[in-house]
C-alpha cells in the first residue's frame, strides 16, 4: 500500500506563493520575496522527488499509476461527473521532474537576473503561477483539468511575455502569443467536446479502457478528434502553421524564455499527444499529419534560425525546430523518444537561454550578436556551460542531445519509405542545427569584440549555479539510454519502444548523425571564424534566398494580409459601423428616443396641479360609469357593441349582496 504522496501540494504550493507574492509582494523585503518564490518550487520539487523514489532507485516507490481524487466533485451534471483528479504515472513523473527541477533552477537564476527590476515581486508571483498551472496540466487525470492547466500556462505566458508592459513591442508580443494560442485552443476545445461526445467521459484512463475494449475501432471520429488535439498542440508547441508567436515571445525576460518558451510550456503539446497516445495510435492519418508537421517545422525553423542576428531569436527558432523533432517522434509513434528528447532539450535549451541571459546581462542588455564577440575570456563559466549546451543540441557524442535525437531519427528510419523521408529531413535539419548553433557560439564568444559592448557586469553566483547544474545535465542527461527510458515509460506510453543501438544499421546511422553534426561545426567554423567575410558575400550572391530567410519566409506578412487585415476590416466596417453604430447604437437611440418623446408627451399631464389630476379622475370615473350603464342594458339603449360581461356581473353581485341582506 502506498504512503500518501500529497500530489495536490505540488501545484498548490506555487499557487500559495503566487498569492503571497502577488498580494503582499510590494510590501515585503526583497529577500523574503525571493525566499517565497524559490522555496515553493523547491518544495514541489522535493515532493516530486519523494514520489520518484522508485525511478531513482533509493527506495521502493509507489505503485504507478497513482491516482489522487478530490473528495468533492468538480462538475456534476446529469451523467457527466468530473473530479479534480491527479494522476501520477511514469510519463507525468518524468515531466514533473523536468518541470519542477528545471523550474526550480530557473527560479534561482531569476533571483540574480531580475534583481534590479522594479517588478521583482510581480515577476516571481507570475513565475509561480506558471508553475501552478504547469504542474496541474501535467498531473491532470482528465482532459478537462488538463485544459485548465493548458489555458493557465497560456495566461502565465502572456503575463510574462508582456512583463515589461511599458514597452509596446513586449505588450504586442504578449497579445500575439495569446491570440495565436487561442486559435490552437479552439481546436483543442473542439477536440475535447468531440471526445466527450464519443466517449462520454473526460478521464484518460476510462477513455483508454474504452478503446482497449474495442480493438477494431480506427479512424473516423478518432481522426477528427486527433486532428483537433493536434491543432491545440501545434498552437501551444509553436508548430507550423501556428509557430509565429514564439520568436516574438522573446520580448519577455530571458529566464522566462528559458522556462516557459523553451523547457516546459512549449513542450506541453508533445506531452499532450503522448498523454492521449491511445487516441493517436488508432488514427494513422493523424499520426502521419503529426509527423509531417513536426518534420516540416523542424526544417523551416532551422533555416530561419540560420540568418537571425538576435541571440534569443536564434534560440527561439532552434526551440521550434527541436519541438518539430519531438512531433516527428510522436508522429512515428515513438512517444518515449519524444519524451526523452523533451527532457534532454529542457536541459540544454534552458541552459542555452540562461547562458544567453548571462551574456545579455553582462553586456548590458544587448541582444544583437553582431555587437558581441570575444567574450569567452571574460566569462569562462558561461562559455563552458554554453559550449556543453551547443554540443548537446548539435548532437555530438556523448552529450545528451545525441542520444535523444539519434533515438528519434532511428525510430523514424524504421517506418518504411515515409519514415525514411522523415529521417532525411531530420538529418538535414541536424546539419542546419549544428551550423546555426555554432554560428551563435562563434559570433558570441570568439573573434574580436565588436561594437561597444563590453562585459561590465559580473555574473552573480545565483545565476552561475543553475547554469553549472544544467551543464552537467546536458552532458549526462542522455546516458540513461533510450532503451531503459523506453522500458520505464512503457506502461504509460504503450509498447512502442525504440530499440537501443546495437546492430550495424543503427551504428551507421549514429555515425552519420555525428558526422553531419561535425560537418555543421566545420561549416560554421569556416564561415564565422576563419573567413568572417564570407557570409556577407554569400548573402550578396544569393540575395533572394537570404532575404526570404531573413524575413522569415514573410509568414508574418502573409498572415497579416490573409487573416489580420480582413479581420480588422470586418471588425471596423461590419462590426464597428454596421453592427455597433447602426444596429446597436440605432436601437439604443430608438429606445432613448421613445422614452424621451413619450416622456415629453406625458409630461404635460403630470403638471403637479392637483386640480388637473382630480379632473382626470372624475373624467375616468364618469367614463367607467357610462360604460357600465351602456354595458348593463345595451338593448334599451339601442347599442349592441358593448359586451362588458364582467362589469354587468359586478353590478349583479352588488344587487345580490343587498338582496340577501334584505331577506
Amino acid at each position: 500500500m502506498n504512503a500518501p504522496l500529497h500530489l495536490w501540494l505540488i501545484p498548490l504550493l506555487p499557487l500559495a506563493a503566487f498569492f503571497l507574492n502577488g498580494i503582499l509582494g510590494g510590501r515585503l523585503p526583497k529577500w523574503l520575496v525571493s525566499a517565497i518564490g524559490v522555496l515553493a518550487p523547491l518544495a514541489s520539487f522535493a515532493l516530486v522527488v519523494n514520489a520518484a523514489r522508485g525511478l531513482i532507485g533509493v527506495a521502493p516507490g509507489p505503485s504507478l499509476p497513482y491516482v489522487e481524487t478530490s473528495p468533492f466533485a468538480w462538475i456534476n451534471v446529469g451523467a457527466l461527473h468530473v473530479d479534480f483528479s491527479f494522476v501520477l504515472d511514469q510519463l507525468s513523473m518524468v515531466m514533473l521532474l523536468v518541470v519542477t527541477g528545471v523550474g526550480f533552477l530557473i527560479h534561482v537564476y531569476s533571483v540574480g537576473y531580475m534583481h534590479e527590476d522594479e517588478g521583482y515581486a510581480r515577476y516571481f508571483s507570475f513565475l509561480n503561477l506558471f508553475l501552478f498551472f504547469m504542474t496541474t496540466l501535467v498531473l491532470a487525470g482528465n482532459i478537462l483539468l488538463m485544459f485548465v492547466g493548458w489555458e493557465g500556462v497560456g495566461l502565465a505566458s502572456y503575463l510574462l511575455i508582456g512583463f515589461w508592459y511599458r514597452k509596446p513591442s513586449a505588450a504586442d508580443a504578449g497579445k500575439k502569443a495569446f491570440i495565436v494560442n487561442r486559435i490552437g485552443d479552439f481546436g483543442f476545445l473542439i477536440g475535447i467536446f468531440l471526445l466527450l461526445g464519443a466517449f462520454g467521459t473526460f478521464t484518460f484512463s476510462e477513455i483508454a479502457a474504452r478503446l482497449a475494449a474495442s480493438p477494431a475501432w480506427q479512424g473516423d471520429i478518432l481522426t477528427v478528434i486527433c486532428l483537433c488535439l493536434l491543432t491545440g498542440a501545434a498552437g501551444k508547441s509553436a508548430q507550423l502553421p501556428l509557430y509565429v508567436w514564439l520568436p516574438d515571445a522573446m520580448e519577455g525576460p530571458t529566464p522566462v524564455s528559458a522556462l516557459i518558451h523553451a523547457a516546459t510550456m512549449v513542450t506541453a503539446g508533445v506531452y499532450m499527444i503522448a498523454r492521449t497516445h491511445f487516441l493517436f495510435d488508432r488514427s494513422p492519418f493523424a499520426l502521419g499529419t503529426v509527423a509531417i508537421v513536426g518534420a516540416a517545422t523542424a526544417f523551416f525553423a532551422a533555416t530561419m534560425g540560420l540568418v537571425q542576428n538576435d541571440i534569443k531569436r536564434v534560440l527561439a527558432y532552434s526551440t521550434i525546430s527541436q519541438l518539430g523533432y519531438m512531433f516527428l517522434a510522436c508522429g512515428v509513434a515513438a512517444y518515449s523518444a519524444a519524451i526523452f528528447h523533451l527532457m534532454t532539450h529542457a536541459f540544454f535549451k534552458a541552459l542555452l537561454f540562461l547562458a544567453a541571459g548571462s551574456v545579455i546581462h553582462a553586456v548590458g542588455g544587448e541582444q544583437d550578436m553582431r555587437k558581441m564577440g570575444g567574450l569567452w575570456r571574460a566569462m569562462p563559466i558561461t562559455f563552458w556551460t554554453m559550449t556543453a549546451a551547443v554540443l548537446a543540441i548539435s548532437g555530438i557524442f556523448p552529450f545528451a542531445g545525441f542520444f535523444s535525437k539519434d533515438a528519434i531519427l532511428y525510430a523514424a528510419f524504421l517506418q518504411g519509405s515515409f519514415g525514411k523521408t522523415l529521417w532525411a529531413v531530420g538529418f538535414v535539419t541536424a546539419l542546419l542545427t549544428a551550423i546555426y548553433m555554432f554560428r551563435l557560439w562563434y559570433m558570441t564568444f570568439f573573434g574580436a569584440p565588436r561594437g561597444e559592448a563590453h562585459p561590465h557586469h559580473a555574473t552573480p553566483a545565483s545565476m552561475l549555479g543553475p547554469m553549472v547544474v544544467l551543464g552537467l545535465l546536458s552532458l549526462c542527461g542522455g546516458w540513461i539510454g533510450i532503451e531503459r527510458f523506453s522500458n520505464y515509460l512503457a506502461p504509460a506510453t504503450g509498447a512502442h519502444r525504440v530499440p537501443s543501438i546495437t546492430g550495424h544499421l543503427e551504428l551507421y546511422l549514429s555515425l552519420a548523425a555525428i558526422a553531419i553534426a561535425l560537418e555543421g561545426w566545420l561549416i560554421a567554423d569556416k564561415y564565422y571564424r576563419r573567413k568572417p567575410g564570407r557570409p556577407a558575400q554569400l548573402a550578396a550572391a544569393m540575395v533572394g534566398a537570404y532575404k526570404l530567410l531573413f524575413n522569415k519566409y514573410y509568414v508574418d506578412e502573409l498572415y497579416g494580409a490573409v487573416f489580420v487585415r480582413p479581420l480588422l476590416a470586418i471588425a471596423k466596417y461590419l462590426l464597428g459601423w454596421v453592427v455597433d453604430t447602426a444596429i446597436v447604437g440605432g436601437a439604443a437611440w430608438l429606445l432613448g428616443g421613445i422614452a424621451t418623446f413619450s416622456g415629453a408627451f406625458l409630461q404635460g399631464w403630470q403638471s403637479g396641479n392637483l386640480r388637473s389630476y382630480a379632473a382626470w379622475l372624475a373624467f375616468g370615473a364618469a367614463a367607467a360609469l357610462l360604460f357600465a350603464l351602456l354595458a348593463g342594458s345595451p338593448h334599451a339603449w339601442g347599442l349592441t357593441f358593448f359586451h362588458a360581461e364582467p362589469i354587468y356581473k359586478l353590478s349583479h353581485i352588488a344587487v345580490a349582496y343587498f338582496g340577501q341582506a334584505r331577506r
Binding site: G608, N609, L610, A618, A661
Partner: protein, 105 residues
C-alpha cells in the same frame, strides 16, 4: 310619481348624486386647499346618503354600518389631511392649490 305619502328612493339617490356632483365641482373649481378638502367631505356625505337610503330600502343594517365606517375613516382623514395642510402652509406660506404643484414640501 305620486306625492301621496312616501318619498321615492330615487329622490334620495338623486339628492345623493347632486351632492356628489357639487362636491366634485367644488374640488375642481375651488382655489383654497381647505375648501377643496371640504368638497371631499361633501362627496363622502353624498355617498353616505345613498348608503343609508339603500339600507333603509332593503332593511340592511350593514349599509348603515358602512356609513359608520366611512365616518370614522373621514375623521382620521380629516386629522391627517389638516395636519398635512398645516405642514404645507408652513413650508409655502400659501394655500392656493395652483401654487402647490410640487409633490413635496
Amino acid at each position: 310619481m305620486s306625492l301621496h305619502q312616501d318619498v321615492p328612493l330615487a329622490w334620495y339617490l338623486l339628492l345623493s348624486a347632486a351632492l356628489f356632483s357639487l362636491g366634485v365641482t367644488g374640488f375642481l373649481i375651488k382655489r383654497n386647499l381647505i375648501t377643496v378638502f371640504m368638497s371631499i367631505e361633501v362627496m363622502l356625505n353624498g355617498v353616505n346618503l345613498s348608503f343609508v337610503a339603500f339600507a333603509h330600502q332593503w332593511h340592511a343594517v350593514k349599509g348603515q354600518i358602512f356609513v359608520f365606517f366611512v365616518m370614522m375613516v373621514a375623521a382620521a382623514e380629516a386629522a391627517v389631511g389638516l395636519a398635512i395642510i398645516i405642514a404645507v402652509f408652513r413650508a409655502r406660506a400659501t394655500l392656493a392649490v395652483d401654487r402647490i404643484d410640487l409633490m413635496k414640501l
